[in-house]
């Protein structure tokens, strides 16, 4: 199965996002680069708003993620509560 991945600029907010992804996707592997962090997950990655909010201690709009986003792969399914990346072919 191919990986889906997502990469963020490294900062306070994206650290919470990456932690949330790792907790919700046990198969996630994190690749720390200078100024960038990339998370790979086989097949399907779920990013949950509630997990991010828990870590940030404030309400979070999943679209705020775009501010820190560098790149991603996979088909996207986005709702208010979840941002899902997966291969659908």
């Amino acid at each position: 199965m191919s990986n889906v991945f997502i990469a963020f600029q490294k900062n306070e907010d994206s650290r919470a996002i990456v932690e949330a992804i790792c907790e919700d996707n046990p198969q996630a592997s994190v690749n720390e680069q200078p100024a960038m962090v990339r998370v790979d997950v086989p097949g399907r990655m779920v990013i949950k708003r509630s997990s991010i909010e828990e870590r940030l201690g404030r309400s979070f709009d999943l679209q705020e993620m775009q501010i820190h986003l560098i790149t991603l792969t996979g088909h996207i399914d986005e709702t208010d509560d979840e941002f899902v990346l997966e291969w659908r072919h």
């Binding site: 306070e12 650290r15 919470a16 680069q33 200078p34 870590r55 940030l56 201690g57 404030r58």
Partner: protein, 329 residues
């Protein structure tokens, strides 16, 4: 000549400070909140004991009956440290300013119903003295408390109350005149309806145990006053004369929802630490909740007349539900 471009990855030797690493379990990156909060307060090598209180060190956990295995267990779920606190309040202030602006530019204050205006001025303006008392109390908890994790948000809470007092003053100047503020102070000092509440505020100003003060101010008084003033009275005025006052008190309503997260978390953590704490908190809560109900009942009647009883019940129930969730049933 050929130049090769390549990325050199320099891994830092350490991710965080040693004392933070000991708290987060290993050398991993910690949030700014944790780094700016944990073990910040000095706890050793004090010189003289303060002349004004020779029984205690200058920072001393024994200034309250509450005991904690670790005073830094009181983490703020909002994760506020100076940077995030000022940013979050700046955002709230921007919203409040634009609401005040809207009311002013559309002339909503001038066209406001006079009966409702009288109630709003009589009910809300004396509350700025209550908010000022809360400001003093927040500073007091910060001064005599122990551990940055709790003293830091106590001071923020106090500063927020100063903001509440200022917004109430501006509400008064927008809906009324300078003279209305003076009349409100006169009512606060002399009108029978306000005296029980004034006694409550003045009694809390001289409380020695800072954690009891926390319960009296942040939990009991604010826990009933805010739902009463900014939900019940607010809704009654909106039903009567539209949402003008709701716009002018928006900061208070939103701030209360935000700050209860922290207020409840502190109660929950303290009660869960040991049985002695739980019993002590329950005793304080019962005492101050009772006094707060007695103090707020006459002013509820001032604003809501016959509907006051139901409104007080709902406001008290709001607090009771929160405390049940915090494990203090």
């Amino acid at each position: 000549m050929q130049i090769d471009l390549r990325t050199v990855s320099i891994t830092p030797l350490r991710q965080t400070f040693d004392h933070i690493a000991a708290r987060v379990g290993g050398d991993k990156a910690a949030s700014r909140y944790i780094e700016a909060t944990m073990d910040v307060q000095a706890n050793a090598n004090f010189h003289y004991r303060p002349t004004w209180d020779p029984e205690h060190e200058i920072f001393d956990p024994k200034r309250t009956a509450i005991t904690m295995a670790d005073w830094y267990a009181f983490k703020d779920p909002r994760q506020l440290y100076y940077g995030t606190y000022t940013q979050s309040r700046a955002r709230m202030q921007e919203v409040a300013e634009s609401d005040f602006d809207f009311v002013e530019t559309r002339g909503l204050a001038d066209g406001y119903d006079d009966g409702a205006r009288r109630i709003a001025l009589d009910f809300y303006l004396p509350l700025r003295h209550v908010a000022w008392g809360a400001n003093m109390n927040g500073a007091s908890m910060c001064a005599y408390g122990y551990g940055t994790a709790i003293t830091q948000p106590c001071l923020y809470q106090g500063m927020d109350q100063l903001g509440v007092a200022q917004y109430l003053t501006r509400l008064g100047l927008l809906l009324g005149q300078q003279g209305d503020l003076e009349a409100a102070k006169h009512a606060w000092l002399n009108a029978p309806a306000w005296q029980e509440l004034r006694r409550y505020v003045e009694d809390t100003l001289v409380l020695k145990d800072w954690f009891e003060l926390y319960v009296a101010q942040n939990v009991a008084l604010d826990g009933i006053l805010f739902p009463l003033a900014y939900k019940e009275v607010d809704a009654a005025l909106a039903a009567k004369a539209g949402p003008t006052v709701a716009m002018l008190t928006r900061f208070q309503a939103e701030w209360f929802d935000d700050s209860t997260k922290w207020v409840d978390a502190v109660m929950k953590i303290a009660a869960a630490d040991n049985a002695g704490n739980k019993a002590q908190l329950q005793q304080w809560l019962a005492h101050w909740r009772g006094r707060a109900m007695k103090a707020l009942e006459p002013i509820a009647r001032l604003a809501l007349a016959d509907a006051a009883g139901g409104a007080m019940d709902r406001a008290a129930k709001h607090l009771d539900t929160r405390m049940t969730k915090a494990g203090l049933a």
